[in-house]
């Protein structure tokens, strides 16, 4: 066991500049989280490609990592975001397929009384539709906030934007998503942070 494995991300990345193997520690720490996030957006095969490319790009650029940053996740999610952007066709196709799956289930469901599961399916279809209709930069913010486990500040770091911009994009994305869901209620709309 190398000491790198028990050190912070910055120390591990610093070590990997001389000892490539240390980079495996970064993979072991974050592959699962990055893969899950990419998988949700891109589906199985493309998610694997995106995550592999993310780690390889991160490794190539490890000399540029700001060692003042203890947590490598914003850096990695930033690279992953770009890798996902390159695969936007796959992402769009995924949402389209998920949207159709939702409709099909819902229609079938009406015949024998709508139950919770069916309505959940329909909701998912509508959500997929909504995600597909978002501007890419709004979708990145929304999904990083919802699915990556990063804080607003970390999302800002990830996308290299201001926290205020994170909030405004998130606000806009939620508004659009809500429209897609066909809800007219404005009740908790303004609690958007």
């Amino acid at each position: 066991m190398t000491t790198a494995e028990l050190s912070g991300d910055a120390a591990v990345i610093a070590a990997s500049r001389h000892d490539a193997e240390a980079f495996g520690v970064i993979y072991d720490r974050y592959a699962a989280g990055l893969h899950r996030y990419a998988y949700r957006r891109l589906g199985p095969q493309t998610a694997e490609d995106a995550v592999a490319e993310t780690f390889l790009a991160a490794f190539r650029h490890r000399d540029r990592y700001d060692l003042g940053r203890e947590d490598a996740r914003p850096w990695l999610f930033g690279i992953l975001t770009k890798e996902i952007a390159r695969r936007w066709r796959t992402e769009q196709a995924r949402y389209r397929a998920l949207s159709r799956a939702g409709e099909a289930e819902a229609v079938e469901g009406f015949a024998d009384e709508v139950d919770a599961a069916v309505s959940a399916q329909a909701t998912r279809g509508a959500l997929a539709d909504g995600l597909r209709g978002l501007a890419a930069r709004d979708r990145d913010v929304l999904l990083l906030v919802a699915w990556s486990g990063l804080t607003y500040e970390e999302v800002a770091q990830t996308l290299r934007i201001k926290v205020g911009t994170v909030r405004s994009r998130l606000h806009r994305a939620r508004l659009k998503l809500r429209e897609a869901l066909g809800e007219d209620t404005m009740t908790d709309f303004f609690e958007v942070e």
């Binding site: 066991m1 190398t2 000491t3 494995e5 028990l6 500049r17 001389h18 000892d19 490539a20 193997e21 980079f23 495996g24 520690v25 993979y27 072991d28 592959a31 699962a32 893969h35 899950r36 998988y39 949700r40 199985p44 998610a47 694997e48 995550v51 592999a52 780690f55 390889l56 490794f59 998920l98 959940a120 909701t123 998912r124 959500l127 997929a128 929304l142 999904l143 906030v145 919802a146 699915w147 939620r174 998503l177 809500r178 869901l181 908790d188």
Partner: protein, 327 residues
């Protein structure tokens, strides 16, 4: 339910079934380490990334650079390939006469070896040589804590490297009071059920080759798979014989000539030229044809190497099945 909660549920419904595929890790790390020579795979061990190259080796750097001592014979082409086949047939025959040791999952494969490793600082391209003695205890079923010990062959203290086992799907590593837990799949040091005839073993080697995510030629990947199977490992006599029988059928495998192995024994090397400009060698006892170890030799100048320079050389001294890790 607001849309962020719905998005949570939606996301959970889209989740993969489990952790990222193991292939993905291999793909990434192969990319990171490319090209990944035999000695590096051996040092990193069967357990992935965690064997310290830095700690054990950095401490024992010497200025010596050794050149491959080969007394070539047999020329090249079909003759050299035929001679290789003879040596490998002898090695297989020799392997078949080894004791067939019963192996239990809770035991350890214990291997003692000596090695010379040419280290390369990837940033500065400066090379350095480590001359080490090495002993490992590898968990048979991969669930027990194994151990690697290395020290300079000139003497000194053993440097321990823990190899935490994967127990119940979890590997726990502790150092300096800090404990890190990761999901894992056990990596058995010994697998029963490997093919016992050369044909099936050859198919097995190419199957492993096809799983490797690199772009090396298929024959080279199969040879690499064979080296990985026999280096620092225990195989049943029949399977070990099958490996040597299979290697004889990999196109391009030929005899190199007489060598002195890392432990000073008279050997003969059978090898494959690799596209990286290196030669991967299996070394056998010159008389009995028993397997002695393996080497990797640079064939051309470049990347901080000179033609003929030995990048890695290991000689196996003992292989045993033991009940516990450590001395």
């Amino acid at each position: 339910m607001d849309e962020m909660t719905m998005l949570d549920d939606f996301g959970a419904a889209l989740d993969p079934d489990g952790p990222p595929p193991r292939d993905l890790r291999r793909r990434v790390l192969t990319g990171v380490m490319r090209p990944q020579p035999v000695w590096r795979r051996m040092l990193t061990g069967r357990t992935g990334m965690r064997v310290a190259v830095g700690g054990g080796l950095a401490a024992v750097l010497t200025a010596a650079v050794l050149a491959a001592q080969v007394v070539p014979f047999g020329g090249s082409g079909p003759a050299a390939q035929a001679q290789a086949a003879d040596i490998l047939a002898g090695a297989a025959e020799q392997a078949r006469h080894q004791p067939d040791v019963p192996v239990r999952g809770d035991q350890f494969v214990h291997v003692e070896s000596v090695a010379t490793v040419l280290g390369m600082n990837e940033a500065t391209k400066q090379s350095s040589t480590a001359v080490i003695a090495r002993r490992v205890w590898l968990s048979v079923d991969g669930t027990r804590d194994g151990l690697i010990q290395q020290r300079p062959r000139s003497g000194g203290d053993w440097t321990d490297t823990a190899l935490p086992g994967c127990h119940g799907g979890v590997v726990t590593q502790t150092k300096g009071g800090v404990t890190v837990t990761n999901a894992c799949t056990p990596t058995p040091a010994y697998r029963g059920g490997l093919p016992t005839d050369a044909d099936a073993m050859l198919a097995h080697l190419y199957r492993i080759a096809d799983e490797q995510p690199n772009k090396n030629p298929r024959d080279q990947r199969a040879f690499t798979a064979a080296v990985d199977l026999v280096a620092e490992a225990y195989l049943s006599p029949a399977s070990l014989a099958a490996v040597f029988g299979a290697v004889a059928r990999i196109p391009g495998v030929s005899v190199v000539g007489d060598v002195t192995d890392e432990a000073g024994r008279d050997g003969v090397a059978v090898a494959l030229h690799e596209v990286q400009g290196t030669r991967a060698e299996l070394i056998f006892d010159r008389d009995s044809h028993a397997y002695l170890g393996n080497r990797s030799v640079a064939l051309q100048d470049g990347d901080g190497l000179r033609a003929g320079q030995v990048m890695y050389s290991a000689a196996v001294l003992t292989v045993e099945i033991v009940d516990r890790a450590g001395v």
